[in-house]
């Protein structure tokens, strides 16, 4: 199938078959991170810092080591001393050296014959701390006299005179900003803040690891990307990568949070120290919240110019984001997303990646985009209100389209923002009448999507069914979408395809299931690999028919003679070719390895209807609509699922989720009881519109769909609350406490 056929109709793509792994997952048979045990296995537990910032003066584990059943205790002394750069940061975050940088930072770990013994041993480890001053808030950390999180943390980019907590600085833009603002009829600016949120996957991190003294090891782990785990563990522990075989379990959610290491090197080091016995570590929920990788908190200045008709003339942003004690906030991505939806002559972006005494931020679904969307889309909404303009019309007037040069550089190919805006405008939700204390909010969101390093293989089974091997863990139905694309490529039934997710030793390097890439990248690679096998099958059939291979073509699972000139042959099925493989040259398999490009940018538009209780400040979501360009929805149900899941994570972030720190810098809400992710009764149905503007760079027109959906809810809800109450909240979450205060005072103090 040629790439210019992406607009044609498909046989399998766009249908909604049962997912191949559904049976295991509804019967409890699917094996997740904590579901595996081994003979002789030990249980690991981790001692964590009770302070936000403290010097570790001494660690004495003599008493703990004497407990019956304790087999190994490790501290930083058990890790290589010569790491630098990113591997050193990874190591520092895995286990503290001289200093504990945040509440929950790992200090030591124990392996014992039972979980209880391991936990008892932790209590017997004596650590002498010298408590150091800490800083939690990003704006506080930016002050010149703020407590220093890590000395000499700033890189070459940091301007002179910045706070020592600035790790990096970024600035870019285009056009004449002054001129742009001069052209505007109104110019508005504002400070916006978002709190850190956690991905909130329901499965805590878990792994079982085994490592011998000769450096050979194995690991079973819940992760979005096992090659990343292999690479990072090898770097941290100074192992040879190929000697470590990492097998991914089924994964109980990740959303970006399971793309890096936390407990994995500890389990390996404990195994090595206990003579190579397998060690299992399972995090508690409180450990997950305290010591994995939530997203950044942000403080953002935005200034936008608009003509009275609604044209955007110029925009400036300065984003300050803290990503924990080692840097790594998604400030760069946030800047790229800030104005990406709009054609603006003049834009200017400044970003600071700031350190604070918090856990190191990991990716969280469209990293940076939700914060940027909150700031920019809220301010645009304020301007639409001031000018009495329809918020969808204003976005339509300014929307980027094919050929637009994006605010951060690249020129867009075929994209679907305009189609998405039009779809939302026509949806009945946009015209339902609202009652007292109710309001409607509109917002757009963007994610650039990602391709990345990908390696797959495809092999023909002896009966003509097909095995597909990929390296991207199935986090939400990608086995189904990959099987559909495979079935489409061969023209064989969906049920004749089995998709396997292989361990690190079985394929070349694969980036994780991140960046909305699994269906896009593995799908594209599988298409290429499958076409190799199709070419091989045609070659063998040509040999049999004694004609030129070019005179054989493939259609609907059959090799056929290409027209009357090729000769009058009965088409041969994939089944028959497979059954004769041993006679015709042996196994037939294909593989594809590349850095996948042509990802297809993704835009979404959401409409939220809310009601605000004026006496308590509670916000109830009445209706919610997600429209997003999927390029091509391979399995529409799972595309809708991505839209709905992303939207609800965004709703949680907007309304009730936040990291709450005490004066002591310790996390106060390290449990699902008080880290309040939305529950079923908090929500209405999440209506969806799948817009399909095919991605010209993908054989099936696919764009990644996973991430964009989390960005628009933050501003859509803020805009809806503003419409309902006539009060603008510029900081998240819009918890009842904050909303009620804003209702009393006219603003939220931001």
């Amino acid at each position: 199938m040629a790439k210019d056929d992406i607009t044609k109709s498909f046989k399998f793509i766009g249908t909604r078959p049962n997912r191949p792994d559904g049976f295991e997952k509804v019967t409890g048979r699917a094996k997740y991170g904590a579901d595996i045990s081994a003979v002789g296995m030990l249980h690991g537990a981790v001692l964590r810092s009770p302070y936000a910032h403290a010097r570790i003066k001494s660690i004495n584990f003599e008493k703990a080591a004497k407990l019956d059943g304790v087999k190994a205790i490790i501290t930083r002394d058990d890790f290589p001393k010569d790491r630098e750069g990113e591997p050193l940061k990874l190591l520092e975050n895995t286990i503290a050296g001289e200093i504990a940088y945040y509440d929950g930072h790992a200090i030591a770990a124990v392996a014992a014959t039972s979980v209880f013994t391991a936990k008892e041993a932790l209590k017997e480890i004596e650590v002498e701390y010298e408590v150091l001053p800490h800083v939690i808030d990003v704006d506080e950390a930016m002050k010149p006299d703020a407590p220093i999180v890590r000395k000499n943390a700033g890189d070459f980019s940091v301007p002179e005179g910045s706070s020592p907590n600035v790790a990096s600085y970024i600035e870019f833009g285009r056009g004449d900003i002054t001129n742009g603002f001069d052209k505007a009829d109104i110019v508005k600016s504002g400070l916006f803040k978002t709190e850190a949120a956690h991905q909130g996957y329901i499965e805590p991190h878990a792994c079982m690891a085994q490592l011998d003294h000769n450096g050979q090891g194995e690991m079973w782990v819940c992760t979005q990307g096992h090659w990343y785990i292999r690479q990072m563990c090898s770097e941290v522990l100074d192992l040879e990568a190929s000697k470590l075989c990492v097998t991914p379990s089924e994964i109980g959610g990740g959303f970006g949070g399971k793309t890096t290491i936390f407990i994995e090197p500890l389990a390996l080091a404990l195994s090595k120290k206990s003579g190579g016995r397998p060690v299992k570590i399972v995090m508690s929920r409180s450990e997950v919240l305290r010591a994995t990788g939530p997203t950044a908190s942000a403080s953002m200045d935005v200034k936008i110019g608009m003509t009275k008709d609604g044209y955007l003339t110029a925009g400036c942003v300065e984003f300050r984001m803290q990503g924990g004690a080692f840097g790594g906030s998604p400030v760069s991505e946030a800047l790229q997303c800030a104005f990406a939806s709009y054609n603006m002559e003049a834009v200017h972006h400044i970003g600071f990646d700031v350190l604070a005494n918090r856990p190191r931020a990991a990716a969280y679904r469209a990293p940076g985009s939700p914060m940027a969307a909150f700031a920019v889309e809220s301010l645009i909404d304020e301007m639409c209100t001031d000018l009495d303009l329809d918020p969808i019309d204003v976005r339509l007037m300014n929307a980027v389209a094919e050929g637009s040069k994006s605010s951060y550089g690249p020129k867009f190919k075929k994209i679907g923002l305009i189609e998405t805006l039009e779809a939302t405008k026509e949806h009945p939700n946009y015209s339902i009448e609202l009652g007292a204390n109710q309001g409607r909010g509109v917002a757009a969101g963007y994610w650039m999507n990602h391709g990345g390093e990908t390696s797959v293989s495809v092999s023909l089974a002896e009966d003509g069914s097909v095995n597909v091997s990929v390296g991207t863990p199935d986090i939400g139905g990608s086995r189904a979408s990959i099987a559909l694309m495979t079935a489409e490529t061969y023209g064989i039934p969906y049920d004749s395809v089995r998709v396997n997710i292989l361990e690190t030793g079985a394929l070349g390097f694969n980036e994780p299931t991140h960046g909305s890439r699994a269906t896009l990248a593995s799908g594209k690679a599988v298409y290429e690999a499958a076409n190799q096998t199709i070419a091989e099958m045609c070659r063998r059939v040509a040999k049999k028919w004694q004609i030129d291979p070019d005179a054989v073509y493939w259609e609907n699972g059959y090799a056929k003679p290409a027209g009357p000139n090729a000769g009058d042959f009965t088409p041969i099925s994939i089944k028959q070719i497979a059954s004769e493989m041993d006679q015709t040259g042996g196994p037939i398999a294909g593989h594809h390895e590349s850095s996948i490009r042509g990802v297809g940018h993704s835009f979404g538009v959401h409409i939220a209807d809310v009601e605000v209780d004026p006496e308590t400040g509670r916000v109830t979501v009445l209706r919610y609509l997600v429209a997003q360009d999927a390029g091509r929805a391979v399995h529409p149900s799972y595309v809708e699922g991505q839209f709905q899941g992303g939207a609800v994570q965004g709703i949680g972030w907007a309304l009730n989720e936040e990291y709450v720190y005490g004066e002591d810098g310790c996390l106060q809400n390290a449990a699902f009881l008080d880290y309040r992710i939305p529950v079923a009764s908090d929500l209405p149905n999440i209506d969806t519109i799948i817009v399909e503007v095919p991605n010209p760079d993908h054989p099936f027109g696919v764009r990644g769909v996973g991430e964009t959906g989390i960005a628009p809810p933050l501003p859509a809800l803020a805009n809806a609350v503003a419409a309902a109450t006539k009060v603008r909240l510029r900081s998240l979450p819009m918890s009842p406490t904050k909303v009620l205060k804003a209702l009393k005072t006219g603003n939220d103090g931001c």
Partner: protein, 287 residues
């Protein structure tokens, strides 16, 4: 940790009195097991009272009141039609504790003994004028529920003193109760504020009232001055407003991760007003 399953309360008392270390009692376990998990206050002895005859029974006494066994679950209360009809406020307070899963296990007595100022079922019990039967080596006494909590996580129960049941007085005509709380989500949160109101009417005029506030002080508190505002009135908007202000005035909350002092003071008035209205409607027979 030693696990005990006594077959009588006197046996439980004996075990408790002779045990070394921290003793806790297991009824529904929805607080105790969380403490075990977190590793805070892990007991050395855990006395499971569920094998004691009668602890899962709801009994109508001869005097027309109810006796609810110490291990009666939320589900049992909710499913008990007559009790729910007579004491809807008390039952809905219990029903608000946690999820369906928690409701299968959680108990009134457990909620009370956990000593949280935010316990959802406690204001309703106090408003109802409920007592608990407390057994010890020196016999059984009846204690007002409001006398049990003394501070956050603290009760006045001594070693070897075990609550065996909750006793509710007889319900009369033209009486009604209600409990409402405020939480950020719709479920699964701890009350930010809570209020129970129990009223009795005579010709639609409030003759007696008990108002109990939750999560706005170190323990669940009886708000007598607020209740007094209601006496002799038939609950028009004006009285509700005075009552609401009074409840806010009486509240002495703290700021924490669940809500600010200012928010709690404000919203307790709102919730109390709504609860009073609901209780009044129920007392009128309007459901």
């Amino acid at each position: 940790m030693q696990y005990h399953t006594p077959s009588s309360f006197s046996e439980a008392v004996t075990i408790s009195n002779s045990a070394d270390g921290l003793v806790k009692y297991l009824a529904g376990g929805t607080d105790v097991l969380v403490q075990l998990k977190i590793g805070n206050n892990s007991p050395d002895h855990l006395i499971d009272i569920k094998k004691i005859p009668g602890v899962k029974e709801i009994a109508l006494r001869e005097d027309g009141g109810w006796t609810i066994g110490a291990a009666v679950s939320g589900v049992q209360l909710t499913n008990h039609k007559k009790l729910s009809r007579e004491w809807p406020g008390l039952v809905e307070g219990m029903e608000l504790v946690g999820s369906a899963q928690i409701q299968s296990r959680a108990t009134l007595v457990g909620n009370l003994c956990n000593g949280s100022p935010a316990a959802d079922s406690v204001p309703g019990m106090i408003a109802a004028g409920a007592t608990v039967s407390v057994v010890s080596s020196s016999g059984t006494t009846e204690v007002l529920v409001e006398d049990i909590p003394v501070g956050p996580g603290l009760t006045n129960l001594g070693t070897g003193e075990i609550i065996t049941a909750v006793n509710l007085p007889k319900r009369n005509k033209h009486e009604g109760d209600a409990y409402l709380r405020f939480i950020p989500r719709t479920e699964m949160d701890i009350a930010v504020v809570g209020c129970a109101v129990n009223l009795s009417l005579e010709n639609e005029v409030i003759r007696s009232a008990k108002v109990v506030l939750g999560a706005v002080g170190p323990k669940v508190e009886v708000a007598t001055p607020a209740a007094e505002c209601l006496l002799g009135e038939n609950l028009d908007e004006n009285i509700l407003s005075i009552f609401s202000d009074k409840c806010s005035e009486l509240a002495k909350p703290i700021s924490d991760k669940r809500g600010s002092e200012e928010f709690r003071k404000e919203v307790i008035g709102v919730i109390a007003k709504r609860a009073a209205k609901k209780a009044y409607d129920r007392a009128l027979g309007n459901k």
